[in-house]
Every structure is written in C-alpha cells, then in structure tokens.
C-alpha cells in the first residue's frame, strides 16, 4: 500500500474512534436514563473518557510518525495501527465486562474491528487480531462463568442472567469465533484484491507517464531538428539577400539549397515512420528477395562509382521468395546500401548477399567502412541516435534511417542485427521468413492482412 494512503487510513481510524467514544457515552446515558437498564455508569463513562484520551495521544503520535520520511514512517504507521486495533479490542472487552459480558449484544461490534483490521493490515495480521478478539471474548466469558470476576447483570434488558449456563456460553462463544474468522476471511479477500488493483493501476499510470515523457522528448527532438535546418537556411539566405552575388554569397545559396534537401529528406522519412506507426499495413506480395536486392544495388551503383567503391553482389539466382511489402523492403535495402557507401572510404567495398536458410531468407549488407564503436552498437537503432564517428562524416543526418529499417523489418516478422568492428567495417543482417511454397487461395489473403494490421 502506498505511504500516504496508509497514513490517510490511519487518520480515518482515529476519526472513527472519536465517534466510538462519544457513542459509548451517549449509549450509556440513553440506556441507563431513558430505558432504565442497570448499567455501571461511572465505569462506562470512565471507559469513554479513557478512549478519548488515548485517541488524542494516538493522534499526536501519528502526526509525528507521518512527518518522518519514507519507509521508516510506513513501518511505524503499520505498527501503530496494529497496536491500536489490539488496544481497541481490549477496551471493547472491558466495556463489555461492565455492561453485561456475554449477554450484551454489543459483542457484535467486534466485527467492525475485524473489518477495519482487514482493510488496514496484512492478511496474517488480520487473522492474528481475530485470534486476539476470540481469546479476549473467551477469557471474559470464562472468568465470569467461573466467578473469578464479577458479572454485571443487565437488569432491565435481560430477564435472567445466562452467563453461567454452559451450553449458552459455549454456543455464543463458538458462533462469535466463527463469525470473526469468516468476516476476516471475506473482508481481507476483498481488500487484497483492491490493493492489488490499486497497485496495478499505479504501475499503469507510471508506465503511461513514462511513455508520455518519451513522446515529449520525441516531439522536442523533432522540433529542434526541423528548426535547426530552417535556421541554417534562413541565415544562409540572409547573407545572400542584399549582397552582390560573389563567391561567398554563391556558397551560402548553395548551402541553403542543400539544407532544404536535407530537411525534405528528414520530413519524408518522418512521414514514413509515422505512417508505419499509425497504420502498419504493408502491401504484401510474394517476390524474390534476390531480385529486390539486385534492383537496390543498381539504384545505388552510380553513388558507389562516384566514390570508387566496389559494389559486390552475391545473390542466389534461384531466388528464395518472401511475402512482404516490396516497396518498403526495397527502400530499406537501398537506404542500408547508401549508408554503407556513405560511411565507407574511397576504394572500399560494399557487398550485398542473399541466401536461403531453412525457413528464412538472409540478406547481408557488409562494408569496409568506419564501423561502429562497440559502446554505441546497442543504440544505433534508437530513434535520433547517431554514433560519434558517423556524426563526424555526416553532421546533419536524421538519425532515423536505421530506426525506420528496424520497424519495417519487424513489421514483417523479421529481424535486423548488426555486427561491426570499429575501423574495419559493418555488417547488417536482415532475416525474413521465407514465403511458404504452396498455392495461396483467395481466402487466405485477407486473413494474413488482418494478422499484420492488428500488431
């Protein structure tokens, strides 16, 4: 149970006790003066006063306890509640003794204490309190039965005293004991469930808050990056405006233009990510991954040649097939190849390989580039994350490319992993489930789509 809610309930217990003390006094007055029941008035008012005084002490003590921080206060409050309930049981027993003992139906009030114990205490503590109540009540009945203590008969309420009639005493005691244990059983079962639900709720709230924080960070990051590009474009153009077009001005115009390209690429990849997150329904077709990889390699060949990078393709010609969104997979492979080319020095090698393996198809893109520092390897698929050495080569990268690749591949029930040695190269490995070689009937297609869209 949470700290403050336990303390709140402890205060609630104290408020109840004010009420109990006043009711005891009022009840005594009404029974004795209005209905003429023979009561030990002085003793009963004394008990009510004692209850008031003891409650006041408890209030002061609780204020002191809850002022202390954390765990110590929590344990203190729990202990205080245990002691209070036990003391209340003793006081109720004494009250009962002065008002007719086992013949007084006030004995039902023990049930309230059991309910309170079940709500505030742990299950075993509640059973312990029930046992104490049963012992106290039994002791009272036994002492009065044996004559060890005097019995105060409730003349005017009962016609004859029954405290020494064995079967009556035993029967009342047994029903009393069973009632208390049953009440504790029922009340604590409910209380435990409520406490569990309360805890689950608190955890769910905490999770939501954490997600909200991540979302805020995400939006802050997006805004920052977009405004960064805009700021560069604006100031570069500001230099150009008004000045004669000389070499310096031309350079700034060129820079502004390249930043608009980067901003466009950023917005485009962002939209792609958002679309995936919102709908996540790829257009599924069966195609050869080798063909798709070959096409991707052709798309980037010019870029590789510009840097004198050798582009090597090892593609199984028979072509293992996958069931996937061809456009999304193709785009992912192109982006990984462009990445490899970007981070590989001139004269290096970028290779792409596709091979079948049991139920899956493997696609590997390797390069002889700068590699990823080992400490950063685990984070490179995180949104906006960029390794330090990658930042040095490309200052304004989006930090979203690998994250998008991971989302696309995982949406296809595949996986993407990375192996890298800093300074000598990186390999990205994509594993996709192999399309099953059998006729697809018309009825299966919607079922398959449904499975993907609900993820």
């Amino acid at each position: 149970m949470r700290d403050d809610s336990l303390a709140q309930r402890a205060y609630w217990l104290i408020r109840l006790r004010w009420l109990a003390a006043l009711s005891a006094a009022a009840g005594t007055f009404v029974c004795a003066r209005v209905f003429g029941v023979a009561l030990q008035e002085r003793a009963l008012y004394g008990i009510a006063l004692l209850l008031l005084a003891y409650n006041f002490v408890l209030l002061v003590l609780l204020r002191h306890l809850t002022a202390a921080p954390g765990d110590r206060s929590l344990r203190g409050v729990t202990r205080a509640i245990n002691v209070q309930i036990s003391a209340d049981l003793v006081i109720l027993t004494v009250l009962l003794h002065f008002s007719g003992g086992i013949e007084n139906p006030l004995a039902f009030f023990f049930i309230f204490h059991m309910i309170i114990a079940s709500i505030l205490l742990s299950v075993w503590e509640s059973y312990l309190q029930a046992t104490l109540a049963v012992l106290l009540f039994g002791l009272l009945a036994l002492l009065e039965y044996s004559g060890a203590v005097s019995h105060h008969c409730l003349a005017g309420f009962v016609t004859h005293c029954q405290y020494q009639e064995g079967p009556y005493v035993l029967g009342t005691f047994l029903v009393f004991a069973v009632s208390l244990y049953l009440v504790v059983y029922m009340a604590s079962t409910i209380a435990v469930r409520l406490r569990r639900a309360e805890r689950a709720q608190a955890q769910a709230n905490e999770r939501l808050r954490a997600q909200d924080r991540i979302k805020d960070e995400y939006v802050a990051r997006l805004t920052h990056d977009i405004k960064g590009h805009l700021a560069a474009i604006q100031t570069c153009l500001a230099v150009a405006i008004g000045g004669p077009i000389n070499g310096q001005v031309a350079d700034f115009i060129d820079r502004a233009y390249r930043r608009t390209q980067k901003l466009t690429a950023f917005v485009r990849i962002l939209l792609r990510l958002t679309k995936l997150k919102l709908s996540g329904v790829p257009e599924m077709t069966v195609f050869s991954l080798s063909d798709a990889a070959g096409q991707a390699a052709e798309t980037v060949r010019k870029r590789a040649e510009d840097k004198a990078i050798h582009l090597s393709c090892t593609l199984e010609s028979s072509g293992p097939t996958v069931r996937a969104d061809r456009e999304a997979i193709g785009e992912t492979v192109v982006n990984l190849l462009l990445n490899a080319i970007k981070y590989t020095p001139e004269q290096g090698t970028v290779s792409i390989e596709v091979r079948a393996e049991d139920d899956s198809v493997l696609l590997e893109i390797s390069d002889t580039g700068i590699g990823v520092p080992p400490a950063e390897l685990a984070r490179i698929f995180d949104e906006f994350y960029r390794a330090a050495n990658a930042r040095q080569i490309e200052r304004n990268g989006t930090g979203l490319g690998l994250s998008l690749a991971k989302q696309v591949i995982e949406l296809h029930d595949g996986s993407i992993s990375v192996f890298s040695t800093e300074g000598s190269g990186t390999t990205f490995r994509i594993v996709l489930p192999r399309a099953r070689v059998r006729r697809t009937t018309a009825s299966e297609v919607p079922a398959d789509r449904h499975r993907i869209s609900v993820r």
């Binding site: 805004t223 700021a231 100031t235 570069c236 230099v239 304004n396």
Partner: protein, 131 residues
C-alpha cells in the same frame, strides 16, 4: 573605436558560417567553434566581447553546461552570453523562462531559432552596450 568581437558556438557549420558573415557585414569581428571543447578553447584564445551559444551539440545539454562553466571562471564570467537555440522545452526544462537563472542557466539573453538577423543584431547591440 575598436571593433567588437563575437564568438559563435554551434555544431551546425552552415549556421556558424552564415552568422559569421552577417555579423561581419554589420561591422563585428566574428569567430566560430562547432563544439563545446573548441568553444571553451576559443573563449580563452580569442577573448570575445560576446558569446552566441547553442544548446544541443554533442549532448543535448552541452550549451547549458558550458554557460555554467563560463560563469564560474573568474576571467570569463564578464562576457555576456546570448543563448540561441531551438530547444524549446525538454521534460521539466523551460529554457526560455529559466534563462538568467544564476544556478540553472546563467545567460544574459535568449533567442529562439530560427532568428531574424535584425532581431539578433539588435539583441547583440543591446548586450554589448550594457556590458
């Protein structure tokens, strides 16, 4: 009168260079640095009259830390800092409203990116006048 020198610290090279050009056209001398470390170095070697400082460089709080470091340096604490950033609000961090807070963000002024060159020049002029 001697020309006043402004140091721009921002990890965006395009922004650094274009701001430098704008400041030079307005009659200032300008120097640039693209990381916190380089910025601290140039604060000592270039001794600028004013610092234009970005927030997010290698980490998202580089600029915050650099401003605090500078204000603890007995020789450099007098240099006014103009924070120029597009970090609007991170979790629990209201940059704009905490600008000037001596413990958290001890800068003399704050401007949001992108900024109109006129606004920037006016702010720089104001800071140098009161310094």
């Amino acid at each position: 009168m001697e020309t006043r020198k402004v140091l721009i610290v921002d990890d965006d090279v395009d922004l650094c260079d274009s701001l430098k050009a704008i400041l030079e056209k307005a009659g200032y001398t300008a120097a640039t640095a693209t990381s916190r470390a380089e910025g601290m170095e140039k604060m000592k070697t270039e001794r600028p009259d004013l610092l234009v400082l970005d927030v997010m460089m290698e980490t998202w709080h580089d600029g915050f830390e650099m401003s605090r470091e500078l204000k603890q340096d007995p020789e450099l604490r007098q240099t006014p800092i103009l924070m120029l950033t597009s970090v609007e609000e991170r979790t629990g961090v209201q940059v704009k409203s905490s600008a000037g807070d001596p413990d958290w963000l001890p800068v003399e002024a704050y401007l949001d990116k992108p900024v109109e060159p006129d606004v920037l020049l006016a702010e720089i002029g104001k800071l140098l006048e009161s310094a």
